[in-house]
Structure formats: C-alpha cells, structure tokens
Symmetry: C2
C-alpha cells in the first residue's frame, strides 16, 4: 500500500497553497492508504492554522498540538495530504473567500461549492482525496454536502471533541466529514465516533418536516420526492409535522443572536488588537453579533431551551426528521451580496433545527435539480436523529444506498 | 527652473507605489517649479484612483478626466509628482491603512501622521514635496495638519469644486491642502480660491470656544495658551463662548448620522457587487452608517440647520472662532481599536463645528505638547471663520507668522 502524497496539482483551488502541513498516516489501521484533507481551522502541530483570513494567519503562532480529530484519523492510518480553504473564520455558507478565491464545485462547476467547509467539499467532489474534514456551526458541512452532492454529517453537538480547532461559537460548533461513497463514509464514522456515547436506535417513524419543505424551492421539493418515498418505504411509518410551533424563521433568528454573540466573543480581543482585513460581509456579521443586547441573548436562550424540548419530543428515541438540506441547489458563482444574504437567511431556517437542538444531521446526496439551461445541480435530502444517533443515521444511509443499487 | 521629478526614494511610505500618475506643471504660472502630491482620491486622467483600498482600485477603470483642483494647480505651474496614501475611502483620522501601511509622521516619527490625508501630510512633513492636496470630510486635513505640524485648510464647503474626486459624503466633503510655510500656503490659496466667491473681511472679534477647550487634554490647552494670546493680541477683542447650546458631543453625533448615511449611499451598490476587503474598523463605519434610520437622519438634519444658524450668529461677518484643532497630539503608532475609537470620538467633537456649519477652518502649526519621555509632538491651533472667509483666515495666519518672527 502506498502512502498518499501532498496534492501538487490542485486544479480546484481547494487547498491552501501557503502551508506545507502534511501528516503521513499510520501504516496499519482501518483507514490505511486513504487520503484526506483538513479544513484550515484544524490545528496541525508546527503549522499555523490560517482560518481563511490572511491576517489571522499572520498574527498567530504555529500550533503546538494537532487537533484531536486529525490525529485520530492519522493514527487510524489515513494520510492528511493538505489543508483546505474555508470561508473567513468559518463565517459563510457559500465558499466565496475574497482573499483566496472560490474552490470549484466539481459537481456543478459554474456554481459555488458552499461553505464554510468549501475546500474540503471541493476536494472530495473532484476526487482529489478520499474524504475530508469540515466543521459545521450554522450549516458549514451540510450546505456544501448538498451543493456538491456528497455525504456529509453534522454530528451530535459535543460528540466529536473540538480540541485543536479554531472556535467560532462553542455552543454550536461541530466537526464533520465528507465522502462521495457511503461505505467509506461509514468507515470514517467508525473511527471518529467510537470514543464517545452512542445511542443505539433503529428509526420506527419518519417525520416529514412540513414547514421545512414549504421553505424550499418547488423544483427542489419535486426532485427530492422519490427519495423521500424511498426513505419512507425503509422506515415504514411516516407522519407530517410542523417542526416549529412558532416558525423556523424565529428559530433561525434566535440562533443568529446566540451564534453571533459567541462568535464576537471568540474574536473581539483579536479584532481590537489587529484591526484585521475582512470581506465586507464577514465584518458585517461580526458587527451584527456585537450589536445584540444581553436581553436579546437571554430571550434567545429561553427559546433555544424550548426548541430542544420540542425537537426532543418529536424525535423521541425512535424517529428521524426528514427535510431538504438546503432550499435549493448551489447558486451560480459571482452573485451580489443582497442575493447571498437573502439565500443565507432562507437556508438558515433549515439548518437551525439541528443547530439549535444539537441533534445530528446527515446529508444524503441523492437528487439533482433540473436547471433552466437543461443541466442539473445536486440537492441533498437530510435526516435528523436524536442526540447520539449518528451511527443510526449513517446506517440508514447505507441501507438506502443498498436498496437503490 | 527645473521640473520636479517623480518621487523615487519615498522613505516615508507617503506615496502610492502602484501608480505612475505624474503631471508636469505648466512652464509658466505662479506656482512654476513647485512639486506637489495629490491624495489618491483625486482623479488623474488615464490612471485609476485607488482610494486606499485595493479592491476599489481593482474594480474601477482609469479616470477619464483630471480632478479640477489638480488640473488647476498644474495649469498654474506646479508639478504633481505622485499620488499619496489615504485611509480607506477616506474613512479614518489616524492614517493607519491596513493594506498599504502607515505613512511616517516626520515631525513625530513614533506617532501616526493622522488621516485620512495621511500620505499628503507625511510627504509635506518630511519635505518630499512643497505642498500637497488632501480632502476633509470629518477632519481629514485638519487632524493630520495638527499631528504633523503643518498649515492646513478645510475650505468653506463648496468653495473648491469637487469634480473628479472620490466622494465620501457630499454635504461634508471638501478639498484642502498642506504646506510647511504660510507664505507658500497662501500662494496655493491664491490659485485655488480665485475662482469662487470670496467674503472680504478682517476679524474684529476672537471667540474662544470654551466647550472646545474643555474637551482637550490639559497639556494641549497649556501648550496652545501663548498662541491664543498672540492671536488675541492681533485681533484685539476677545470673548469666551460655549459654541453649542446643547453639547459638541451632540453635534458630532448628528454628523455621524448624516455623514454615515451619505457615505453608505456613496458605496452601497459597489459593496453589494464586489464584497470588498476592508479593515474591520472601516467596514464597521459603513455598517453603522447603514444602520441609521430615516428618523435619525431627519432629526440630524434639523439639528444641522440649528447648528448653521448658531455658528452663523456667533461669527457674524467679523469674528473668528478659536479652538484646539485636536484634543491632543498624534497617538503612538500601533494602538488598539478601542483606543482609536475613543480618541476619534473625542476629536470629532472639535471637527464637527466647521463640519456641520460649512465654515472654513485653518490649522496653525504653532505648538508642541511636551511628552512624558521628554520629547514633544505637534499640536495645532485652529481658527474658524464665516463662510467664504478662507483668504481672511490665511491672511491672519500670515500676520501671526510675521508678528512672531
């Protein structure tokens, strides 16, 4: 078995070309011979974590330790062949980094890859690596999975240790991964999830999230329909529910407050000291996060508690929620900020269910949305399970793939 | 007489090194043989105006025409030897540009030069040119004049045509200039002010702005005291007045609203299209400008009308207002953003008097503030005159220089 090499012909602009970070995998282990990429918010000892912002990179020392998740994969045999681009400090869901460019979405080359784990999704979509690590605070694994047509998991909050990562908002941050193939995807899960609490379950009920489907583009709902039917057939029982008693827009707004304030607290001293360069839309997010009042935060915390209760009651210990991962396919590259902001708001109403509840969510890369020009672009179907049911989500994805092959 | 050459050994980082803009002065004319620099918000035909922001520069075409003020000086014989650095899109009063660095204040090399006309003030302070053009919306000529120990004028609003400049906030924008020597300074005024309405006057009263002096550092007030006495002796009658019936803080806050909204309107479409990189504190200003409501703007407009009435009544047609140009000397290079923001707020309470009233204000580089380490740094005394009294301000500065020599 040969050890994978560093990527030298990155035709996708997926990789950071200003770091030599490379970690050869252990010669034995369940992942031996596999090549993976790590989002450049994950520390590698001896290298500066760039975080998608050149001023962050210039003002931080090399990491002393390697992130738990990276080291665990290397110990299991996988070779880390490079670091990948991210939206600045993980603030964004489209993957358009003004400093480093937009990685190519190999599944829809005229469209954005999604973000913030943009380079990881790009590298996997284009076959440059076998799998890749990302992080998901507000959708940063799920959205690029959907846009690039990949399997992607936002794990249960706190299941995978966050040691050695560039923190955005601790009460929302998670580490996830991408792969093209569900069997390989499951092997990564076996390694990363074995160290922590697992909830054994086999779903008996499928909850179709009516309010989530209503928010998606009609063409997206139509494209997902046969796959919803296939999941329904596997699980057996299906029920239609509105997930939010108020609105998913309200839930998303509460996350905007809590995540925004935490994100500001993570960087405010650094910003005060460095006055870093940001894309306007990134700086805008930080100023918004700073602007929320303590009262806004307290109210949002109360609502988050209600959300956790509500989602917990819906899921029980035997159900999955089914919803579109995104409201539509990846937008074309080069849109205006108003277009991006509006689309981000719409998508946040879907991603906030797992975000605020802390539940795991898997993206199933099953569908293609037909486009006006006759082509098509990927769209994902999502399943959300009870906290700790990450393996059950992956198992169902495997069953589904087997059933359709 | 030899024609001045382009600056090739810019040891001060005053000049933009990414433009070849150079305009040889007319061989005859009152300014023949003089070298000047133009802030890089002034258009020169065939060259892109950079505005202190690389994304602005990258997304704008070369200018078709040369700014009126530059062409007028060239026609009068002066040679424009280069373009100078500015705070991004003129948003700032300290001269610390994260993209291009901080020009050196030759009069206090460990301190900032002031901004936004930072490179122009630096070039004049270090003797690289005879004089330089800047712009002043919220203090961008006056503050660097004071910090670098230069004569500097914010002219009467709309006296010098703004054709061919990068607009920040049209109802506050002015073009001014810097020189080390008042006689040369006056010669520039003869050229730039001849084309528009002049108010003939000789001040009979000096109004000491009590509320402005109260805002300044005690050491600054003390350093200015002998020069206040000298001006008083020249004019004869002196009276103490509080300029604002409410507070100068309130006046500055109204300018923040009006200037902020106008500044946002000047760039919002470009920002939407380009998502440009800004220093955090610059993006912050734009998001703040955008956040003001129509009601905020209406209230501020009403107050501005009252300010104009109040300042007009104080000045009549025979008085100058005397005040510190800045609350203190230039701060040391490399401060935190919180320090900068607090100092900007304090200084804005002084600069807003001429800003909101549209009156001309001249900085007299007369004093040095002693510093704890035994050195000293420049601080300026300012005179504000009735609208159109620009020449009278310059004349008084000349008299004062003659009286003290």
């Amino acid at each position: 078995m040969t050890t994978p090499q560093r990527i030298t012909n990155d035709r996708l602009n997926a990789f950071c070309n200003d770091t030599e970070a490379y970690l050869s995998g252990s010669p034995t282990g369940p992942l031996a011979g596999l090549a993976f990429a790590a989002k450049d918010i994950l520390d590698v000892a001896g290298h500066v974590t760039g975080g998608g912002n050149p001023d962050w990179k210039a003002t931080h020392p090399p990491s002393e330790r390697t992130a738990w998740v990276v080291q665990t994969l290397v110990d299991a045999g996988a070779t880390m062949v490079g670091k990948t681009h991210t939206d600045e400090l993980t603030r964004g869901i489209f993957g358009e980094n003004v400093h480093y460019g937009t990685p190519v979405n190999a599944s829809a080359p005229d469209r954005v890859p999604g973000g913030s784990s943009s380079g990881s999704a790009s590298a996997v979509s284009g076959g440059l690596v076998d799998f890749a690590l990302g992080s998901d605070t507000g959708g940063s694994v799920r959205i690029p999975s959907s846009f690039c047509g990949l399997y992607g998991l936002r794990p249960t909050h706190n299941r995978i240790p966050l040691n050695g990562i560039l923190i955005q908002a601790p009460s929302y941050d998670t580490i996830g991964w991408f792969a093209r193939d569900i069997e390989l995807f499951a092997r990564i899960g076996d390694v990363l999830l074995q160290h922590s609490n697992r909830t054994e379950m086999r779903p008996q009920r499928l909850i179709l999230a009516q309010d989530a489907f209503e928010l998606a583009d009609p063409a997206t709902v139509e494209a997902l329909q046969p796959h919803v039917a296939a999941v329904t057939a596997l699980i057996g029982n299906v029920q239609n529910e509105r997930i939010s008693h108020t609105s998913l827009a309200d839930w998303a707004q509460r996350q905007l407050v809590l995540q925004g304030r935490e994100a500001w607290a993570s960087v405010d001293e650094w910003i005060d000291e460095v006055n870093p360069r940001f894309a306007f839309n990134v700086a805008e997010r930080y100023t918004m996060g700073r602007s929320f009042t303590d009262e806004d935060v307290e109210e949002a915390q109360e609502v988050r508690t209600q959300i956790r209760t509500r989602v917990g009651e819906l899921l029980g210990d035997d159900a999955f929620i089914c919803l579109p991962t995104a409201v539509g396919p990846a937008p074309l590259r080069g849109g205006t900020q108003q277009e991006r902001a509006a689309l981000q708001v719409r998508n946040s109403r879907l991603t906030t269910i797992a975000g605020n509840s802390g539940s795991p969510q898997i993206n199933l890369p099953l569908a293609q949305v037909p486009l006006p020009d006759g082509s098509s672009a990927p769209i994902g179907l999502s399943l959300i399970g009870p906290r700790g049911s990450d393996e059950a989500l992956i198992s169902l994805a495997q069953e589904l793939a087997q059933a359709s092959s």
